[in-house]
C-alpha cells in the first residue's frame, strides 16, 4: 500500500529563488511527522507545495497514490488535505462559527456541518464561548485554535500544520501541543512544521531536517533528538 502522502524529487521556485531542491518524503497513515529546519529552509514551501498554494515545477506529489501535483488548492482540499497556514490566517470579519462553517465548504449536509461544529466546540471549549465573536478580535492563541479547528472541519485525512506555536505565550504552546496529540489520537495524520523543534520531536514519531531547500536528515524523533547537529542547531544545546 502506498503511504498516505509521498513527495518525490519535488522542486519549487519563487521567481528565481529555488526554494525546494528535490524533496523526497512520505507520511504514513496515522503518523505525526515533523519537518525541522531553520528560517527559509523551505518548510512552509513544502507544505504549500502539497496543498497547491504554490505550484512545483518538477517531481511528484501523491496522496494515497493519486497524483495531486498541479491541482488547484480547492481540489486538493477536497481530496482530504487540510492546511493550517503560517500566521493562522483566519477570516477576521467572519464570526468564529462562520469561520468553522467555511472550513466544511465541501460538505453539503447542514446537519453534518452542525455536527462537526459541535465536535470542534468539544475539542476547543474556548471557541464555544466565543462562537459569535469576529475572528479578528480573538487573541493569538484563540486564533490558532480556530485555525486548527477550521481545517479539521473538512475532516481531512492529513493535516498540515505550519508553526502552530509561533508567537504564542508559553502556556498556550503547551496547550497547542496537547491538542495536536489529541487530534492525532482521534485518527488524523499530521505533518508538522515547527521552529520549536524540541516540542515537535516530542510529539512526532519521525522527523525530517531541511536545510536551504534540501533534506539533510531523516530519522525517528528519538534518534534525531540525540543527533549532535540537531542538538546544536535546532535544540539550542551546545
Amino acid at each position: 500500500m502506498p503511504p498516505l502522502l509521498e513527495l518525490q524529487n519535488v522542486h519549487t521556485f519563487y521567481g528565481h529563488i529555488h526554494a525546494l531542491k528535490g524533496i523526497n518524503l512520505f507520511v504514513e497513515e496515522g503518523e505525526v511527522v515533523t519537518l525541522v529546519g531553520s528560517n527559509g529552509a523551505g518548510k512552509s514551501t513544502s507544505l504549500r507545495s502539497i496543498s497547491g498554494m504554490v505550484r512545483s515545477k518538477q517531481g511528484s506529489i501523491r496522496l494515497a497514490g493519486q497524483d495531486i501535483m498541479g491541482m488547484k488548492p480547492h481540489e486538493i482540499t477536497a481530496l482530504g488535505v487540510g492546511h493550517v497556514p503560517e500566521g493562522r490566517r483566519i477570516f477576521p470579519l467572519l464570526t468564529v462559527q462562520e469561520n468553522l462553517e467555511i472550513g466544511a465548504w465541501n460538505v453539503k449536509s447542514r446537519s453534518e456541518i452542525s455536527r462537526r461544529v459541535e465536535q470542534m466546540f468539544e475539542l476547543f471549549p474556548r471557541l464555544r464561548e466565543r462562537f459569535q465573536q469576529k475572528g479578528g478580535t480573538l487573541s493569538g492563541g484563540e486564533q490558532q485554535m480556530l485555525a486548527i479547528a477550521r481545517a479539521l472541519m473538512a475532516e481531512p485525512r492529513i493535516l498540515l500544520l505550519d508553526e502552530p506555536s509561533m508567537g504564542l505565550a508559553p502556556v498556550l504552546v503547551e496547550g497547542i501541543f496537547e491538542i495536536i496529540k489529541k487530534i492525532n489520537a482521534q485518527g488524523t495524520t499530521i505533518l508538522l512544521v515547527e521552529q520549536n523543534a524540541l516540542m515537535a520531536l516530542e510529539v512526532a514519531r519521525r522527523g525530517y531536517v531541511l536545510q536551504s531547500g534540501s533534506l539533510v536528515l531523516q530519522d525517528t524523533s528519538v534518534n534525531l533528538m540525540n543527533n549532535e547537529m540537531v542538538k546544536r542547531v535546532y535544540l539550542g544545546e551546545n
Binding site: S38, N39, G40, G167, P170, V171, V233, G236
Partner: protein, 268 residues
Amino acid sequence: MAPLLDVRNLTKKFGGLTAVNNVTIGIEPQSISAIIGPNGAGKTTLFNLLTGIYKPDTGTMVFDGHSLVGLRPDQVNAAGMSRTFQSIRLFHGMTVLENVMVGMHSRLNISLFNTLTRTAGFNRQEVHVKQKASDLLRFVGLAGKGDEVSRNLPYGDQRRVEIARALASDPKLILLDEPTAGMNPQETVDAMALFRRVRDELGVTVVLIEHDMRVVMGISEHISVLDYGQKIAEGTPDEIRSNPRVIEAYLGRRAAGVVEPETSAEVN
C-alpha cells in the same frame, strides 16, 4: 538615577476592551528590559502608545525629560525612541541599504533647495548617510548585503535589517517587538548577542517583548509582566520565574521549569 522612560497610569481602550490598563513602568538608562505576558495582554499596544501610533486615553509618558503624549510617531522617533515591529515591516521594494538610510530621516537636513541644487552640504550628507548605513549593517552582521532587495532576504536577516533601520536614527532607546519570533535556537542565540552589543557598544537602552523564555530570562535585567492590560508583576528574571501568578497566567509549568538559568546565561 531618573528613569529614561517613565510611564505612569497609562490606559488605552478599544471600544469596550481595555487593552492597556493603568500601566506604570520605568525604564532605567542603559538597561535591557523585557515585557512579557499572554497573547493579547497589551504589550504591542503599549509599544504603539509609546511611539505615538495610538493616542493614550489617560496617563503620562515622559521620555528623557520630555512628554511623549500627543507626539506623532515621527516626532517620537526624532526624540530618540525607535522601534521594530512584531510582523516585519520593511520597505520591501527598497534595498537593504536604502531601508537603513530611511531610518536616518529624522537626523537629516531635508531641504528642497539643497536637494535640487545639489549643494556641497547635500552631497556631503549623502556620503555620510551611505557610510553610516553600511556601518550599521556591518554592526548587525549584514556586511555586504546592502544592495539586496529586502524582501529577498531570509527572515532572520530581515529582523536584523529592521534593527539596523531602527538604530539609524541614533536612538537613546529601542523597542523590539518579538525580535526572535520565528527564529531557530541558533539564530536566537546570535540575536541575543546582538541585543547585548546594541546596549554595550552603542549605549542604547533596549526594551523587548518576547515569548521565548530563553531570550527573556537570558538577557533582560528587568521584566514587567502584563495580563489583560494590567501589570501583574515586575522584577528580575528569577523573581518572575518563581512568581506563581506569572506561572499560572503565562509561563505554564513546563516553561517555568525547563529553562535552566545556566543554559541561557552561557550563550553568547
